[in-house]
């Protein structure tokens, strides 16, 4: 868990700029509040990396299931991710919009598609876990919610990797 957090921060600091937005000289115009947006994006990426680390560690490394302190970190950073992503969606929805003209030209088409996929998965991630925490689902429902959470996370993660690897629009 500690390793996940440290790695997340290191990655975010090292690749933050690239992940957060434009890098070209003639960069497109950023949003109205670039500093705030950048901070939110940074926090989101940190939480995302922690979530990936804690969540996928159990699936990849035997003997490290999601339990104990790892769960606490996962849940805590999950909330941080949810809030940051929701805010970022508001800040950047226009920039990621596929409809009409490319508003600001900050992101490539692949990245835009990835964003909307991540948004859909994020919605599934949030509501699958939220429904499991409320007295709504029985045991079978809980199992379904867990599966939805798991596969949404997997798809979201793939989308994030593609997003990060996609070339920015120059």
């Amino acid at each position: 868990m500690i390793v996940s957090v440290v790695v997340a921060i290191v990655v975010a600091v090292m690749f933050g700029k690239q992940l957060a937005g434009p890098v070209a000289k003639n960069a497109p115009r950023p949003g109205r509040y670039p500093l705030l947006e950048g901070l939110i994006a940074f926090a989101m990426w940190v939480s995302l990396l922690v979530l990936a680390g804690t969540g996928f560690l159990g699936a990849i490394v035997p003997g490290h299931p999601l339990q104990g302190f790892t769960t606490l970190a996962h849940v805590g950073f999950g909330a941080m991710f949810g809030v940051c992503f929701a805010l970022l969606a508001v800040f950047r929805a226009e920039a990621y919009s596929l409809a009409g003209q490319d508003t600001h030209g900050r992101f490539s088409t692949v990245q835009k598609y990835c964003f909307w996929i991540i948004a859909l998965c994020g919605l599934a991630l949030i509501f699958s876990i939220l429904s499991a925490m409320l007295r709504l689902l029985g045991t079978d429902g809980q199992h379904v919610a867990t599966l939805v959470h798991r596969y949404s996370a997997l798809v979201a993660m793939l989308a994030v990797i593609i997003y990060a690897g996609a070339r920015k629009r120059s």
Binding site: Q67, G100, I126, A132
Partner: protein, 800 residues
Amino acid sequence: MKKITFISVSLFVAAGMAVAGSDDEEQAAKKFHEWSGSRTIPVHRIRLFDENSERIAPEYKQSMPYSSRATCGACHDYNAISRGWHFNYAQKDAPRGRAGQPWIWYDELAGIQLPIAGRGWTNTWKAADAGLTPWKFIKAFGRNLPGGGPGEAEDLSGDIDARWDLSGRLEVDCLACHSASSMQDHSEWVKQVARENFRWAGTAAAGFGEVGGMASRMPSSWSVLQGQNPDDNQYAIAPNVKYDTRQFDRKGRALVDIAIKPKDQNCLFCHSNADEGKKKKDFDVDIHTRAGMNCADCHRNGINHMISRNYENEAEHRKDVSVAGTSCRGCHLGVKGVEGTAAMGGRLGSPSPKHKGIPPVHFDKLSCTACHSGPWPTDNLVRVRTARANRLGITGVANWVTDLPYIVEPVFMKGEDGKIAPHRMVWPAFWARQDGDVLKPVAPEVVTNTAGDILSCGKKVAQILNALTPTNDLVPVFVVSGKVLCANADNGLDVYSSKVKGVTEGSSWALAGKGVLSPVVPSVLPPAEQQDAMQEVSGRIKGVLKAFSDPAFRSSGKPLITIGEGLFRMNDASGDSEYLSFGDFNNEAKIDMSKLVKTVKPGQVPGLWWLKDGKVEPAALPEYVVKSVGETAGTSFTFTEEQVAMVLKALVEQEKGGKARFVYICSGKMFSLDGSGRLVASDHAAAQPAAWPLAHEVRPAAQALGAKKCTDCHSASSPFFFGKVAASGPMKTASVQVKQMYELQGQDATFQRLFGWSFLVRSMFKTVMFGAGCLIALVLLLYGILALNRVTKFLGSNES
């Protein structure tokens, strides 16, 4: 040659007949065990047979008691039954199964409570290893055994105290479970076992007749074939049975009222439990019982009497998948991978639990009983009495119920299957000889014989109080450490009252009445003219002197009571008390009075003294006695560390060479003497508690842990994780093993605290997450609508 041939042929024929005979018996037994499909209960109007398979003639005075082996075994496969779960515990190949309640070998005076089990359960002792021969085992626990097992197996222990020839064998008592008669009396069984009337116990319990006499009082030379003892009809009366002829018809058949499925009452005689202090009116029965079910609806068996215990992995242990269907999970949810309605769940109308809002990880880590059974977790464990350990349900003039052994519940610990379940727990307490790391228990009688009076302080004080006969509504009491103690009927001590005036520190004998304490004898004699007062004082003094002249105190000497400048003593000739001045007494007894005169001054509180061997000594109780009584009376403790140290020394001294090492196991620790003779505590594996999961009483779903809120368990101070599990035992000591539940569950305390605290912000967390989710949903909806708008525009227009 012809002779040899004839003998060979005869033997062959005889052997053939014997084999055929046994086959016939087997066939006959099988005939009754293959269910015909009828759901009626056959009326058992049958003849009774004794252990020699002779038909019982009820009108005959010398009749033997009925034998279940001969009577029931005539049609039912007795041998198969006697290998069932209730009877096979002492067999070498006895199945282990999940840990259950052990027998607890208990001796209050010796401070012994030793968990005994023949199945090798963790932290229990096998009977033989603990020094219990089959005879001693049956004597100790036969009261709650349904017979069979070591009660009728061949005794190879060589126990010279065994009296099987007199007592007879304790056969499987089929009716203990299968009787539907209201005359079935388990208390009668207990009494007959206590009297060593093993062969008569089943007959007495069933109510077929009245059993008299006691095998325990018969001389070893007596045999049942000898019948009654013509020389003694007062004390050593041979066991005998007088059948109730009204229960037999003209053919000598008795109507044996049988329940194929045992009635709950029969099960509960040995399987009752009750939290200490709980009132009967407040006791809610198990939810299954409330729903109209019986014990045997779930705890089923075939003719092999391997009764299902219904724990989760029993099917795996028994290699019998059919028992999985009657476990909690099997009955309510079904058995995966098994076909048939019995494995579908919802059996007997059981509801399928929804467990809404409970994350499935709970079902991997917790047994069903963790949330649904036993008492609600509290910071301190609840003391529970069980029928088998504390002798519940035995009715009669005597009070059979015992306070000890001290069993506690619910200890939420990891079970053998790796799941957390509520357990009952008992800590062993026993004296042992230590050889390296190996402990060998010392028999209770060896301890008590060696200890002499050391362990019986309370009894000693009670003996004196009983000797001081109460007068004028005044109860003799012993005042010590602020407690006022009186003697009880069992020669023990009870707290007289907490509301008595005049209680002082230190120790003294006194009379209590109307909430006030008064001295046993006054400090000064009333003036001679006050005849009534003088008479009362004289009477009281006489009573005290008489009490201490009791043979029980003869070894101490003759009692003297000093008042003022003289003393009272008993006049052996007149049987009355007499008053002498110190001078007269000195002249007569010619003893050294200096100590007495020096100690007692005019007007001082009168003292009790012993005159022995020409010396006068104060009749004070030894310091350890006063200390022990002060510290243990009115508590669950029996003795103090000081007494244990004294007994350990005595055990070493009574050994030849005095080099053996003895220890006392108690309260989760091992106590031994160090080089300077002080008692020191250390850890030892043998001091660890025996624990067994509890399953009943099952609470309704609405009363399950977590049914209302997660914080039933997940809080920073929840008893489920942080409840204290403090060891207990007969000795009062500060060196007690104390653990918390999370340690027994293999949990991390810091994590559980943090996780518990997280529930303080759980509602806020859910709200924030819901808000974030809604925001994302709205953004998606908004741009989804915009995208839809684009699609509709595109589809609705032919412009490129």
